[in-house]
């Protein structure tokens, strides 16, 4: 379908004191070490975040009762330089196949054990379709998640 209005992609650039290989590894294999767990998917709290290490792999959360919730899939797996994920998460952190947005992460070597991480979350116009259930989770989860992030990141 044609979109005449496209919200700008979310873009972030950060410098990380780590090699691209390590940054890629922490972003993917280590996602569980930094992804938030305080919000709930459906009934049970999130226990684990997983990115399967291959193109076509799944990207999902495991709740404390063992249930798995898909968030999308791995579109491109190119360690240590590039990761492309389909983000099909609606406002309640449930997979909605009608939502197609993309998250791309590029890791560029800056030498001396540092790298630049260029992050982009794009095709956000497509979120309009999956947005209907988001209001509730905004109330319940986001404020506290962001507070926890800050605490963790600044410690």
């Amino acid at each position: 379908m044609s979109q005449t209005i496209t919200p700008a992609a979310i873009r972030k650039t950060l410098e990380v004191r780590a090699t691209p290989a390590k940054a890629f590894q922490v972003f993917t294999a280590g996602i569980d070490r930094w992804w938030p767990k305080t919000h709930t998917i459906g009934k049970a709290p999130l226990k684990q975040a997983v990115i399967e290490p291959r193109a076509g792999g799944r990207w999902y959360g495991v709740d404390v009762e063992g249930g798995e919730d898909d968030w999308g899939e791995v579109l491109a797996w190119e360690p240590p330089g590039r990761l492309l994920l389909a983000w099909r998460i609606n406002g309640e952190w449930a997979c909605d196949p009608s939502v197609h947005t993309e998250v791309e992460v590029i890791f560029t070597d800056l030498g001396a054990g540092r790298c630049r991480v260029d992050f982009e979350h794009r095709d956000l116009a497509n979120l309009g379709k999956g947005a209907e259930t988001a209001a509730a989770s905004m109330d319940n989860g986001w404020g506290s998640i962001l507070d926890l992030y800050k605490t963790a990141a600044e410690s």
């Binding site: 919200p7 972030k12 780590a18 947005a131």
Partner: protein, 111 residues
């Protein structure tokens, strides 16, 4: 400035299936009330009402075009949803950075 309430309004406005359809039609290009009504199984007054909710939520804007009003998606409206994600990623990437910069047990930093 988007705040939590405005964002909530935007989400709530899109909760109604007909309203979402109106919104999706407008995502394809600007339309008048008449064009939307002829395209959807709802009356013209109903379309007007849906447009009012979408407009109040900041999701669509309108402008006069000759004798009629033409509605279109307000990029700022989706921008509220975008702002919500933007804050999320800011925090998530901060946490990622902190984690990536932690010393590994078995990996020495370059001397």
């Amino acid at each position: 400035m988007a705040n939590a309430n405005q964002t909530k309004n935007a989400f709530a406005a899109l909760a109604d299936p007909t309203r979402r359809e109106v919104f999706e039609r407008l995502a394809q290009g600007p339309r008048s009330v008449g064009e939307l009504a002829s395209d959807l199984p709802v009356s013209r007054p109903a379309v007007s009402q849906h447009l009012k909710v979408l407009k109040d939520a900041g999701l669509v804007t309108d402008r006069p075009e000759g004798a009629r009003r033409v509605y279109q998606i307000d990029p700022q409206g989706l921008g509220q949803i975008r702002a919500w994600l933007d804050r999320f990623w800011d925090s998530a990437l901060e946490a990622f950075k902190a984690e990536a910069e932690k010393d590994d047990d078995d990996e020495e930093d370059e001397a």
